[in-house]
Amino acid sequence: MIGLGGLALAPIALGGALLLRRAWTHADARRPWLIVGGWALLAVALAASVPVLGAVRGPAILLALASTVALAVVAAGVELRTAKRKAPRELALEPSDRRRIAWRGWLRGFLAGPLGGAAAMAVGLAVAVCFPAEVKTRLIIGGMLVPFLWAGGMAWTLSDDKILRALAVLVGVTVAGFGAVLLKGSL
């Protein structure tokens, strides 16, 4: 039956998650073995999914089911606290406090949005046009790179305080990428 092979492997992933949770809750001599055992079970489930469910489809099914069972393990271990008792202060880092300067905010938004998108598009198209591979392969890989690079650029420009450096890099990448595409001119 379709998909039921994944259910057969889910208990192995569940076993792995339970071992890891046990290692997390008990800091004793067995902890390293529990960590190794937990990850080993997850790896076994992933490896077994290939012959059972298919070369690419199997790991995709297993990762979806393993994530779900791991979250179930997390939920099962919920620690309920009373709202009126003040919880112990946790050590958590705060976001950096930046000076609020309007032009920097607008420039940062421009870098993360339109310019980051243009730079990602330039690299993606350069790969699609210039990369040494079959046309459809480089088109798809180049296309897939666009959201990936745009997202990376977004994360970088929004967190880097040196926004003029980011501006220079993104402009350079855009010019170089589109320049390479225009120089070659065809697929």
């Binding site: 298919g54 994530s67 976001p95 994360a155 929004l158 967190s159 589109f178 065809s186």
Partner: protein, 498 residues
């Protein structure tokens, strides 16, 4: 005598030490991006979790249509010919064949006035009903284009995917306690800690899913833009030349009249070539012209790909394959994007997992904003108006989905998107009336009632008919959803009273 148990000392961290300044900078970027896109990401994630079951909702919304687990080529040919007879000048027709997730035979085409219709056929190929599934179409369009004009809608959804992917990158890089807190899930007490645990645990353990859906979603959404720019740079703006690369052997356009293509014969030829592969759709172009041809998609069991497309000409001669399954790496990736994004590759277990993980991603978005609001409150700079607005917006969606489904079942003339928009606005307006805790409880209660009512109305309309069994399963699931929401309200009230 045993010494009293003390809390175990934390071991040496496995994760490399990340400089605090780097983490703080990443957190700043993560917060800025998350806040800018929070509402869009929330909407796309919530609608995406529901859209996993688009095929099932189509069956649920019109459950009395014949359930067909297989169909003969002759029946498909008959359904095609009857549809074409309604408009012999149709430019193209789209035939959907029975599959495990969608055991129906349907033909989509336009009538003589240009209006588009989809008809369902029985096992003999006779058309028996017209498709009327406004709610299913509404929820699918909300996820894919947000009901905006299609190019803009795809772009906005794609950009939302990029923002989500970027948040994943900055979120992972700003989480130095990924192993130390791997299973910590504290509920109650500090609001900020509770939301942070929810946010971080779902984010980390669901990370493979989050990366897959955001990357594939961003690519699918931005593909219109990417193809447009590529065409502009390489093909003088001709997009068709880009699409032609992925369409298989070309068939020259020839408008001279010709006997209509024999769909049944073409299917029989393909069936003989590869008896193991199933059919899932057929796209017939220019029927009745010398240049007529059909693209037939075939699914090989056990593969991630959405199938291989075979091109068949007007004389039922197989011209070749597009190359999705037997071609190169790029085609293999391309053909797996849609199944990977929607969870349509592993039967119902994967769909259920995708639904739960999709709701988890929705909760991650909701809790991300809640952390920011709690942090402001902890620092003595509360934003009470935004606290109310965010809670009202988040809990507006299950209610708006429930009410729009009830109206779609009872009053087919009303567009569900208008009902959804109206209920969303009304629910959001509750931000002006109550505290966040009251808004949450009341909207959750209303959502529970609406989901139960959807199931009751659906049962009332279909009891006594021969109905697709999936409809009953979805009704039971809606009731289960209502019970869970009601239980969450009960738990909240009990906790507040304690």
């Amino acid at each position: 005598m045993h010494a009293p148990q003390s809390k175990p000392k934390p071991g040496k961290p496995i994760w490399p030490k990340v400089p605090a300044g780097f983490v703080r900078a990443m957190l700043a970027g993560h917060s800025a991006l998350g806040l800018a896109f929070a509402a869009l990401i929330y909407l796309v994630c919530f609608s995406g979790a529901v859209a996993v079951f688009t095929s099932e909702f189509t069956r649920w919304e019109q459950p009395a249509v014949p359930v067909l687990h297989s169909v003969t080529p002759a029946a498909v040919g008959a359904a095609f010919e009857e549809t074409l007879a309604k408009n012999p000048k149709a430019h193209d027709l789209f035939i959907r064949m029975p599959e495990p997730a969608y055991p129906r035979l349907s033909v989509h085409g336009d009538d003589a006035k240009g209006a588009e219709h989809t008809w369902f056929a029985d096992a003999s190929g006779k058309l028996v009903a017209e498709q009327r599934t406004p709610w299913t179409q509404f929820q699918a369009a909300l996820h894919t284009v947000l009901h905006l004009p299609s190019s803009w809608g795809f772009f906005v959804v794609g950009l939302t995917g990029v923002a989500l992917l970027s948040s994943l990158v900055s979120g992972v890089l700003s989480h130095p306690r990924v192993f130390k807190d791997a299973f910590a899930f504290r509920w109650g007490g500090s609001k900020r800690l509770q939301e942070a645990d929810l946010h971080n645990r779902i984010s980390v353990w669901g990370l493979p899913f989050h990366v897959v859906v955001s990357l594939t979603g961003a690519f699918l959404g931005l593909s219109v833009l990417i193809v447009g720019v590529l065409a502009l740079v390489v093909f003088d703006g001709n997009r068709e030349k880009v699409f032609a690369l992925f369409s298989g052997p070309p068939v020259a356009d020839d408008p001279r009249p010709a006997p209509v293509i024999d769909v049944a014969k073409g299917l029989a030829v393909l069936q003989a070539q590869n008896p193991k592969a199933g059919f899932n759709y057929i796209f017939v172009e220019h029927p009745g012209e010398a240049g007529q041809h059909m693209s037939v998609n075939r699914v090989t069991p056990g593969r991630l790909s959405r199938g291989e497309t075979m091109i068949v000409d007007g004389n039922a001669k197989v011209l070749g394959a597009a190359g999705f399954e037997g071609g190169n790496l790029g085609m293999a990736i391309y053909s797996s994007l849609t199944p990977l994004h929607f969870g349509w590759f592993g039967g119902w277990p994967v769909k259920v997992a995708y639904f739960l993980l999709g709701l988890g991603l929705t909760a991650v978005t909701a809790s991300g904003v809640a952390i920011w609001l709690a942090r402001r409150r902890d620092k003595g700079r509360p934003a009470p108006r935004w606290e109310r607005v965010w809670v009202a917006f988040c809990w507006s969606q299950p209610l708006a989905y429930g009410v729009s489904a009830i109206v779609a079942l009872l009053a087919t003339g009303l567009p569900p998107v208008a009902v959804w928009g109206g209920v969303t606005l009304l629910a959001a307006a509750s931000a002006f009336l109550w505290t966040p805790a009251v808004i949450s409880v009341r909207l959750r209660s209303a959502s529970a009632v609406s989901l139960a009512l959807v199931a009751l109305v659906h049962l009332g309309l279909n009891t006594g008919k021969a109905v697709d069994p999936v409809a009953w399963i979805l009704d039971a699931s809606l009731v289960l959803g209502a019970v869970l929401l009601a239980a969450s309200v009960w738990a909240t009230k009990k906790s507040a009273a304690a």
